[in-house]
């Protein structure tokens, strides 16, 4: 029997969810101890006896057994989940109650509620995302720290701060709560942030980034599968993630450097993900609200279905960016719109649009603003201006990957000038 990839990480989130159901979220630390212990036991057995046919089921059995043990031993001294107080008191109902906590559908529901609890507005967004990664995705603090280019101790503090807030309540967020709509937006924002960290993130390691995107999609699909959370805006966000994820294979080249859209081999894009994304986008087209996610997904769809940069419907894309500017205006959206205008109407118009961005000073630390100017100047043949702008961009680079990409553009300009 082979060891499946990420087995322990996958199971960690599921087991914590089930154990929290029994113990209550105020006993999150206890639930985590039980999971840790289950892993140690499993390894000791598997190392000598080999991996069992159903390793996930094996881990679950160990955790379940341990949960029963703990409840029996500590039920007089400790309070467990308030929803289960009565059931845990009697030997007649204890075992079935624990059994139910580990059922497939309960685990799914509890993961959903845990997601809502992690995205608590009392916590800053970066703490929310770190909590989701730690509690639901099974990343330990050093791994989350590596993904966010933060120090290990800072990340440990961030996560323990989040857990303190989680443990202040005895029960997880209730989807029937009046706060539900606002909290659902927060959850979507958190998951989108997580996806973006993977997609654009500063972490140099491609494998880590792909994992973050995969986790964001997995958790988003939990929202898509539950009727309460599968609202049009959720479906649109899922569509957006799929359509972006389809391009992941070509985002970085063989050397691990950023690959510009023009140079990406579109036959390498994941056709299955594009198809799923388009289907989700279709499903999202109900109701009377067009959200930013809808428009962004439509833009991603226009890119994903075009055979090349030249055959892209830039006119439609400019129109979608206009729409996005009216729903969720930001200098970044304006920048992307200007790039699309330049693709449609040529570099002169592109530069004009870039200079016309309102609040352009908010982009002064953003490397892709000077890079966009440089790109259009290069096409206009102003190679020395282009090179200076690329240099300005490189000095703002936020990661080695970005810096290498921009430095390659500077060299390109130099070669063209010779």
């Amino acid at each position: 029997m082979e060891l499946s990839e990420h087995l322990f990480r996958r199971e960690s989130g599921r087991l914590v969810a089930a154990l929290t159901r029994v113990f209550g979220v105020h006993n999150l630390a206890l639930a985590e101890d039980v999971v840790q212990d289950a892993f140690c036991r499993a390894l000791e057995v598997w190392k000598v006896r080999g991996i069992p046919d159903n390793p996930g089921g094996w881990l679950m059995a160990v955790a379940k057994h341990r949960a029963l043990d703990i409840v029996r031993r500590e039920r007089t001294a400790r309070t467990f989940a308030p929803e289960l107080t009565r059931a845990l008191e009697s030997e007649w109902t204890l075992a079935p109650a624990v059994e139910e906590a580990f059922a497939l559908w309960t685990i799914r529901d509890e993961q959903l509620r845990m997601m809502f609890s992690c995205c608590d507005p009392r916590l800053p967004e970066e703490v929310q995302v770190a909590l989701v990664l730690n509690v639901l995705c099974g990343f330990a603090a050093p791994e989350v720290a590596a993904a966010f280019l933060t120090s290990r101790s800072a990340m440990e503090k961030r996560i323990s701060r989040g857990k303190k807030v989680l443990a202040q309540s005895t029960r997880l967020f209730d989807l029937a709560d009046a706060e539900f709509p606002a909290r659902l937006s927060a959850v979507r924002r958190g998951l989108y942030l997580l996806f973006n960290e993977g997609y654009h993130g500063a972490s140099a390691e491609a494998a880590v980034r792909t994992e973050l995107c995969a986790e964001a999609i997995r958790l988003t699909m939990l929202l898509v599968e539950a009727p309460e959370t599968a609202l049009p805006e959720t479906l649109a966000m899922a569509a957006l993630m799929y359509l972006h994820a389809a391009k992941l294979p070509t985002r970085l080249d063989a050397a691990g450097d950023l690959n510009p859209l023009v140079e990406q081999d579109r036959t390498q894009w994941d056709a299955r993900l594009v198809e799923e994304g388009l289907a989700l986008l279709d499903r999202s087209a109900t109701g009377d609200v067009v959200s930013a996610f809808h428009v962004e997904a439509a833009i991603a769809a226009a890119h994903a279905t075009a055979r090349s940069v030249d055959e892209t419907n830039w006119n439609a894309i400019v129109g979608l960016y206009d729409r996005l500017m009216s729903i969720a205006p930001s200098p970044i959206v304006a920048l992307n719109r200007a790039i699309a205008v330049g693709q449609r109407d040529g570099p002169d118009e592109g530069i004009r649009s870039l200079h016309g961005i309102a609040d352009v000073e908010r982009l002064c630390r953003y490397p892709f603003y000077p890079a966009a100017i440089a790109e259009f100047e290069r096409r206009r043949g102003n190679l020395d201006v282009a090179r200076d702008q690329f240099s300005a961009a490189a000095s703002l680079a936020r990661s080695p990957v970005e810096r290498r990409y921009l430095e390659a553009r500077i060299r390109e300009c130099g070669l063209l000038m010779m």
Partner: protein
């Protein structure tokens, strides 16, 4: 060929540090599988052995006092054993160097099985 027993020893702290997080557990498991497979492929694996609970009882002395194990004086408990075949003790020690427990602060005790061929 002679037989040797590998006794895997580890402290509680090292055990949790090396297996308690998902990523560590995954890595540890992968390395053990590779090591065991290698022993097996080369024909050294006589008996894969058994894991041991970290609790137990100790019965001691003429008055047969029973105390709760594990054994407070020994912090690194035996967590399991494996029976291998090797030419001699040096060879058995050499083979044990690949054991992943060594990277995690644990140890392998290599004990020759007494020969009964008199």
């Amino acid at each position: 060929m002679s037989q040797f027993l590998y006794l895997y020893r580890m402290t509680d702290v090292a055990r949790q540090e090396n297996m308690g997080t998902p990523e560590r557990a995954q890595q540890s498991m992968q390395r053990w599988m590779a090591w065991m497979q290698e022993l097996d492929r080369k024909g050294h694996l006589k008996d894969r052995g058994q894991p041991l609970e970290r609790t137990g009882k100790v019965v001691r002395g003429q008055d047969k006092t029973v105390t709760d194990g594990p054994f407070t004086e020994a912090k690194d408990l035996v967590g399991g054993f494996t029976l291998v075949e090797a030419r001699d003790i040096d060879h058995a020690v050499e083979l044990s160097r690949g054991c992943p427990i060594l990277d995690g602060g644990g140890s392998v005790e290599v004990r020759p099985v007494m020969k009964m061929d008199m």
